[in-house]
Symmetry: C2
Subunit: 667 residues, 2 copies
């Protein structure tokens, strides 16, 4: 059923004839200021308090529609307890959808309920029956066509029978057909319409489920010391795809500034051979829309994107809105930068540190209109080259409104574009960026190592309102982050963090080949910076090293793909185990047809064992019967029984189980 | 400091120069749709998330003003942790007050912070110093008078000293006077103003702290069988006042209908002697603005009100918007009632029950404008007779919007008027009525008997957002409610419920003299109706009966008056005791100068004992030293030590302790 017009002016305001109250609607982010997020096919389950004064029967419906269409679809809401109601719809297409609620009192059903009680009590109901007849007559007037005729006929019949055969008259007002017709033609002129139309941004599945691989193209050269090109990257695609990744994310591919270029290991003085940081964007060869000549041409790039696609890989680009001193913007648009009192351009600072190779843009400049438009055009330019995923560098140092307008503008035209926010900052700032439009966000996962830290953090991300707008993307390492845990935990530490990232997060990523080769040398003690970081120099990686984790990664990504329970984060639940070095959690599909239980030894140095408690009843397992747990990592199968079962994990062998529990028919 | 103009259009919207975000403001009821409540002198403590992109220093202020005044008062907010800020103001006068927030980034303080770091690192800061000078110059232009001169002088001095004595120049930009002036003349043209002006309804103290006594005037006759009058009531004032009550609440005092009048014990047929229910309002003698002739004249009534005042008692009237069949409205305004199909007026029903002595008003009538206005005039009429407190009968069976407009209209003119909602219905409906304007509300206290029930219910009422708008008023009994606990617990049950009501609730009430005389005879098993209920007949009460609880009541009310901890509900905390028949809780003043600990034996039949745990550190007591607990009920004093202490209560003697713990200077 469709309602074509909502009279928006008459929502929850003191218009005294609208007796139904609709409030406490969930999900609703900050009074509806921000949309919730879903991917195609995901349900939007809406609950609300709906009630009226007095004792009349209330009805409520959930209304939803794509922003681009006019007609609302209606779903009847079901009462739960305590005046709370519920209904859901499926987000069936990309783009923005709207939802709202409507509620009304139903005099006919209220009359019908009271009438039944009087009948049961054997009271004289001949006058009461007429009240019902009048309600049916009124509905007949609201209806048209056959419905109007049937309603009128029904009222007429009851009225006629009243004096002859009261029992038959009563029956004529209580049959199913009449009840249905009365519902269909209820008087909704006094219905309360919830005052807000709430938004859902519906993305393609990759927004929710993705495995990212970050790689510096310039390190893909055939030989050490040789600057890699896009053509070289093509040769690496089979390797990356073979590990089961979906997204190949490249750091900035633009010309790199020469002025104040940093040398190897971030030294102040660069030699002429030094390649500089890809994030120091812009030189006389061009800026954010240009390609670094040593990587190849635009055509080479487009070819890489196309070849990657053949391998099931989507190329993601980096959006880093800052400039090297020799970026064309600096010459052509000095007004887009801050000026120091001595007339020079203000470089980036984190006092007392100075980053003289980087000029931040002044987003508050009087000429911001032109600046913002230009930056938006950068994104659109790469979209035109076939890119649909962007990893955004430090969005938290630019105004929130800039991102909100940029992302809204892009997604209005290209709803399939995804943005990953690299905001390693305070929680509220990260959340704001997610709310205003970023599809996914980096998280604090990198620094959450203990069972308590992981449990608290992921319970927060997956079981609270945060999940409505914040989609976590978990990275064990990045070119900026080599954690203590990885530095000092050896190869098992990488295995542990891989399994955690790939199973706690439906979206995760690694920075390779550093990751699969367990690169763990920091520039100095206490620093998370890599020694000989690719940010400042070429690296030649021995990807065929036999100690590489590539086959484990491939296995983990295959498990992810084959098990729908791992395609989302909302079903994540942690389970007790009597050893703080072990963590146990599960993910399940809504119908329990796929149950994944992960056990990880968080200690990279010692074997750990313990007794796991599983919620066998929630898993719909017979607590009296043994059940199989199948370790998808090793293909081992165990028979467990009941709630308590024993596990033991040696990190030198395999620090984790990823169990699948096949469902067996009960009995 | 005052801000005279808030540019309301530029709140939290994509106006890109307003970088500060203000969100998650508390208290804020349903997006600011409803006001919070305070009494004069109570603080309004406001918290909010306030932050900006990047790393600039942010400032925030809380703005507040009475609705009737234009200028905002400003209170600087203090940062807590995690971008949460806090400030408070005192609600200093009756009526509606507004509050909102403002936040801005401070370039001068941001500059100053960075400048210090550079200085410490020994960097060349001569150019950076000029940036500071420019910021001071800009502030000089915004300021006027002496401030402008001092700022300009300061900038000039720093600028001049820069080349001669850099150290002196730096000092001239970092002194306290300059910092204060820069704060005072900060550039707030880009400040974010929170999009909503939130409301506080400020009432007089009685809204928060009140002891009510309900009494049927017609039962105050000097002799049994004689219809009591207002003059008789006057003679009862000393008795009521002597028990320490503040509010004397009278059931409806209007003429009582004769048609379908109910007899004693709610029988269908009344004899000519039967006095009828005071809630069957209206007869040929008049309606809601008239006085039942047998009670006296309007003059008698006004005299009673004045005499009560002399005894410290405020008279509260009952607002029951329904009519007896012979109410003048029925004759004059048949359009205000529902008509049955046979042309008769629809009487009240709760099928299969019929209340033919009561006609409900049709609040949805087409003539509602006139009806609503007339009903409003009823309240205003009694206000003009000196009444400022109304107990409203069954407000949940009338439209929410009716009450919202009625109460708002009355309180705009008479902010000292208080309304008590008698809505014994579903929680959300009760809460809605409180939010839309009722000052106090009846609660489920009457049926919460066990420790768990009481703890959960009162934790909810006093420790969650509910407390911002819902002020509980606790009644152990009413003319409609004689609970099982009172029916079967004997005199100790009345003592238990009295102490609970009077100490769990800063506002409470009893229906007397039934209560103090431990009247516990129900009309039949399983019913909460009194036998020989005063609702349908006169009762003559032996108030001097030696078993009366009047002296206990007087003692309890005296304790309430003398102990400010009992004047509010928000400090209520429950404490562990190892016996489920005992309940222990405390109320304290904010400064801990008054600490009240209540221990109640919930079992009216048996002595109970147990070990109580008190939070001695939260009470600011020395856990190593003995401390005195002084039972204000019995005047007994005990010396306790540490957390665990023993209690024992015999319900036949005294089922409760009300301990005061005097503060001793730490030593």
């Amino acid at each position: 059923m469709e309602v074509n017009e909502l009279d928006k002016d008459k929502g929850d305001k003191p218009t005294f004839t609208r007796r139904v109250i609709i409030e406490n609607v969930r999900p609703e982010i900050q009074d509806g200021r921000f949309p919730i997020k879903r991917t195609i096919g995901e349900p939007v389950e809406v609950t609300a308090d709906v009630y009226a004064d007095g004792h009349d029967i209330v009805h409520a419906v959930l209304l939803h529609r794509p922003l681009s269409q006019q007609g609302w679809k209606e779903v009847p809401m079901e009462p739960l307890v305590n005046d709370r109601w519920q209904a859901k719809f499926i987000a069936s297409a990309e783009g923005i959808h709207l939802y709202t609620l409507q509620g009304w009192v139903d005099p006919f059903q209220s009359w019908s309920r009271d009438f039944s009680k009087k009948l049961e009590a054997g009271q004289d109901i001949s006058v009461d029956l007429l009240t019902g007849v009048h309600l049916v007559e009124a509905a007949a007037k609201r209806a048209s066509g056959e419905d109007a005729q049937r309603l009128a006929a029904c009222a007429g019949e009851a009225s006629r029978l009243r004096k002859q055969n009261l029992k038959a008259a009563v029956e004529s007002l209580s049959n199913v057909e009449l009840t249905t017709l009365m519902m269909l033609h209820a008087d909704r002129s006094q219905a309360t319409i919830y005052g807000k139309e709430l938004k859902v941004v519906v993305d393609r599945e990759r927004a929710r489920f993705s495995a990212w691989y970050e790689m510096f193209p310039r390190s893909c050269g055939a030989r050490g010391g040789q600057h890699g090109t896009f053509r070289d990257c093509e040769k690496r695609l089979e390797y990356i795809s073979g590990m089961g990744f979906d997204v190949l994310y490249l750091p900035p591919i633009h010309p790199i500034g020469r002025a104040h270029r940093k040398g190897k290991n971030n030294t102040e003085e660069a030699t002429p051979e030094d390649v500089g940081s890809p994030w120091a964007i812009g030189s006389k060869e061009g800026g954010h829309k240009a390609i670094h000549p040593e990587l190849g041409t635009l055509e080479d790039f487009r070819r890489l994107v196309a070849r990657a696609k053949e391998f099931g890989l989507e190329v993601a680009l980096d959006i880093a809105f800052q400039c090297a001193p020799d970026h064309p913007y600096v010459l052509q648009h000095k007004e887009w930068f801050r000026e120091r009192p001595d007339g020079s351009v203000q470089y980036a600072e984190n006092p007392p540190k100075k980053y003289q190779d980087i000029y931040p843009l002044n987003f508050e400049t009087e000429h911001r209109h032109e600046l913002w438009k230009e930056l938006s055009s950068v994104v659109l330019y790469w979209i035109e080259q076939g890119i649909r995923i962007f990893r955004v560098d430090n969005p938290h140092t630019k105004p929130f409104d800039f991102w909100e307008s940029l992302i809204a503008g892009v997604k209005a035209k290209y709803p399939d574009v995804l943005f990953l926010s690299e905001a390693f900052t305070r929680p509220k700032v990260m959340h704001r960026l997610s709310k205003l439009g970023f599809t996914q966000s980096y998280t604090y996962f990198s620094w959450r190592n203990t069972k308590r830290e992981l449990t608290e953090y992921f319970a927060d991300l997956t079981q609270t309102e945060i999940r409505e707008y914040f989609r976590p993307n978990l990275w064990p390492n990045t070119p900026d982050i080599l954690t203590d845990f990885l530095q000092f935990g050896g190869r098992p530490a990488f295995m542990i963090r891989l399994v955690l990232a790939a199973t706690l997060g439906a979206s995760y990523g690694i920075y390779g080949p550093a990751f699969e080769l367990s690169e763990n040398r920091a520039i100095r003690p206490g620093s998370e910076e890599y020694l000989d970081s690719e940010k400042y120099q070429l690296r030649h990686w021995d990807i065929d090293n036999p100690s590489s984790l590539r086959s484990l990664i491939a296995r983990v990504n295959q498990i992810r793909h084959e098990n729908p329970a791992l395609h989302g984060d909302w079903s994540l639940r942690f389970h007790p185990v009597d050893n703080d070095q072990l963590i146990v959690y599960s993910k399940t599909t809504a119908d329990r047809s796929n149950i994944i239980v992960v056990v990880v030894n968080l200690d990279p140095h010692h074997p750990q064992s313990g007794w796991v408690d599983l919620p066998v009843e929630a898993f719909q397992l017979d607590p009296q019967q043994p059940y199989q747990v199948h370790d998808l990592l090793t293909d081992a199968r165990y028979f467990w029984r009941g709630i308590h079962n024993y596990v033991e994990l040696n990190p030198q062998v395999m620090p984790a189980h990823i169990f699948c529990i096949p469902q067996v028919a009960a009995g």
